[in-house]
Amino acid sequence: MTDSMLIYKIILCVIVFAVSLGAAAYMTWGERKLAAWLQDRVGPNRAGPLGLLQPIADGIKMIFKEEMIPTHSNRWLFILGPSFFMLCACMTGVVIPWGAGWQSGETLYPMQVTDINIGLLYLLSVVSIGVYGVMIGGWASNNKFALLGALRASSQMISYEVAMGMALIALVMMTGTLSLKEIVAQQDAGFANVVYQPLGFIIFLICAFAETNRAPFDLPECESELVGGYHTEYSSMKLGFYLFAEYINMFISSAIMASLYFGGYNFPFQHELGLDGNVLTAVQTAVFFGKILMFIFLFMWIRWTLPRFRYDQLMNLGWKVLLPLAIANIIITGFVMLFTGKLG
């Protein structure tokens, strides 16, 4: 790895980090705007034009609010919880290919921080350790509601991880690789993977909703039963971390769904446009962000449409519906591969 490449990677890392933070900030604005529109309201419109400065105002409010740590809580773990959750949310962005890459002279600068050949497993492992942030925070609060919320959150996340992994296995069988870059590159030639894996996509989508604790799976923080769920005792920026991390998770899972199932940065007839390499990369990145926005819209649209599940319904859906469907999907994929002779 040359020095220029190293510097480039560091810059890219910072950019990915900044973009996911900025996207998360503006998703709070978008969420409020969209919620308002779906309810025939206008939404935030006071801070700046169209309320565009609202996230900044929210952030300032969050930072300057009084910070409270409950007396009988476990101080270090109380701080560790949200920090860890935030860390896990930010870690996933590095394996996502945001575009094909910049050609500068001889070297190609890829639009991906790192292309590890087990990208998908990396994603799964980061997702699976994200549970700790919630569990530690909920337990350290020393509050019944927080603990119950944390236990709910963790069991929900573990349950849906299984179906999520199973849905991905069918995809991996089809593409024959665990690297996200490879998977996206393969979709350049043919159709997007969603054409071949519609069931897998739907399972993955539902699991993504559950993993990000979004409605209709926002059981961990259901106000009617558990006050604020695992972050009942949190205030100020530590609460902000939890809420923020949820939006980052949403952004990243939208990006993952776009790259795994919807062709990533590829778009139809991209090579027929006759664009220069770097211009094409810019357009591709824009297209990728368009796809991400589409998924974020879907996330929010569903949140403001569907009511919350009951807890037993949630568990039934995860274990008795999604998991068998995912296994069936694997079997079907295997048979199709066998009969079409795509087995290596």
Partner: protein, 170 residues
């Protein structure tokens, strides 16, 4: 050079948090330190180019097993543990036997000094394919047996954790 520093750092973290695991009063701290140990072991796997294994290690150990431990400890509310009173003789015996084992094992490890890495046989990247081939060609039977073991463990765990066994029989 960088990898060497990484090795020493990871080893230090692993041993430090391993010791912290067994001396922490609070079981939740123990679990968290053990997770830290597992992370550093995963880091070692990465250093040894066993990336697939590292990821699986994190998913299985940190993502599933330790969550179960944490879950049980939180559910049983074990954080106010009664002070453990183990007699001094037993403590001495524990130290002695563990130390003896340590000496024997490190002696064995020291004699392995002659074994150095064979540079000709270093496997290239793409551990996933190699592992897959090995697992599904040479080790297919143990693999299937392992899944049967899982099934048995699953049934056993569900049966054991039923609230009241008499109720289910009735």
């Amino acid at each position: 050079m960088l990898t060497e520093y990484a090795f020493w750092l990871l080893s230090f973290i692993a041993i430090f948090s391993g010791i912290a695991t067994i001396i922490s009063k609070n079981p939740v701290y123990s679990v968290l330190y053990l997770i830290l140990t597992f992370f550093s072991i995963a880091g070692h796997y990465f250093l040894m180019n066993a990336q697939f294994l590292a990821a699986v290690h994190i998913i299985v150990y940190a993502g599933a097993i330790m969550v179960l431990f944490l879950y049980v400890i939180m559910m049983l509310n074990l954080n106010q543990l009664e002070i453990e009173k183990r007699s001094n003789i037993l403590k001495m015996l524990a130290v002695a036997s563990a130390g003896l084992l340590l000496v024997i094992l490190s002696g064995a490890a020291h004699s392995a000094d002659a074994l150095t890495a064979n540079p000709n046989k270093v496997t290239p990247a793409g551990m996933v394919e190699d592992l897959g081939i090995a697992l599904y060609r040479h080790y297919l039977l143990p693999f299937e047996l392992a899944s049967i073991l899982f099934l048995a463990a699953m049934v056993g765990a569900v049966y054991l954790s039923k609230k009241n066994l008499n109720e289910t029989q009735a």
